[in-house]
């Protein structure tokens, strides 16, 4: 629809016309501000916490382990310099050789959700899979935070 609108605008004499092709879906999935009647409805990004322990792929487990143990979660998240989620460090990886690099012991490509996932859907998803947390990222995989099921239980009343 938007490509046709862009062509139409050009035909009407507009010289600088751009088509944000990924559209509203892309914007919302980034957890960016929104307006409108539904803008007040809370989504995953609204309850996501930023208290997960993170590390770079080259960091040694001996350095990472204390950070994860000090966090509220039993796992760590490996991110690139730009914040892209690369993998998850499970408990068994934390007990690995302290000289191991995170990238060598991480579980690559962990399951994630988008920022605009409605809370009721997220609650159902976690319940069905028996999960306590969900990792929220942008469409490009940049880490936004972690949602706890306990927080959703409170939200769902």
């Amino acid at each position: 629809m938007s490509p046709r609108a862009a062509c139409r605008l050009e035909a009407l004499g507009f010289k600088q016309v751009y088509d944000y092709l990924p559209g509203k879906v892309d914007w919302l999935a980034r957890g960016l501000p929104r307006e409108g009647e539904k803008a007040g409805q809370r989504r995953a990004v609204d309850v996501a916490r930023d208290d997960a322990a993170t590390c770079g792929p080259k960091e040694r487990m001996g350095e990472v382990r204390p950070r994860v143990e000090a966090s509220p979660y039993g796992f760590g998240l490996v991110v690139s310099e730009r914040g892209t989620l690369l993998g998850r460090l499970r408990k068994v990886a934390l007990d690995d050789d302290p000289s191991s690099r995170a990238e060598d012991v991480m579980e690559p490509g962990p399951s994630t959700i988008r920022a605009d996932t409605p809370l009721d859907q997220l609650h159902d998803r976690l319940d069905r899979r028996g999960l306590k947390t969900a990792v929220v990222t942008t469409p490009e995989g940049v880490l936004l935070g972690v949602v706890r099921r306990d927080d959703l239980n409170e939200t769902q009343g």
Partner: protein, 67 residues
């Protein structure tokens, strides 16, 4: 010819003062939209409905997704 852009370019254009137009039906615009966007549904896009847009400035249009 209009150029398709991704989010980083959109961000740059908005920061530079681009005009943002949602071309979905009014009901969808009313429910949820990008901040600052105006609504001109595709079926109503003509010289009259675009009269308030500044032709000297960039215009970015969007709908729901790329499909």
């Amino acid at each position: 010819m209009p150029r398709s852009i991704l989010y980083p370019e959109l961000r740059r254009l908005l920061d530079a003062g681009a005009q943002l137009v949602e071309v979905l039906p009014r009901e969808e615009y009313a429910e949820e939209r990008l901040p600052g966007a105006i609504n001109i549904p595709l079926k109503r896009l003509d010289a009259e409905t675009t009269a308030d847009l500044d032709k000297r400035k960039a215009v970015v249009v969007y709908c729901w997704d790329a499909l």
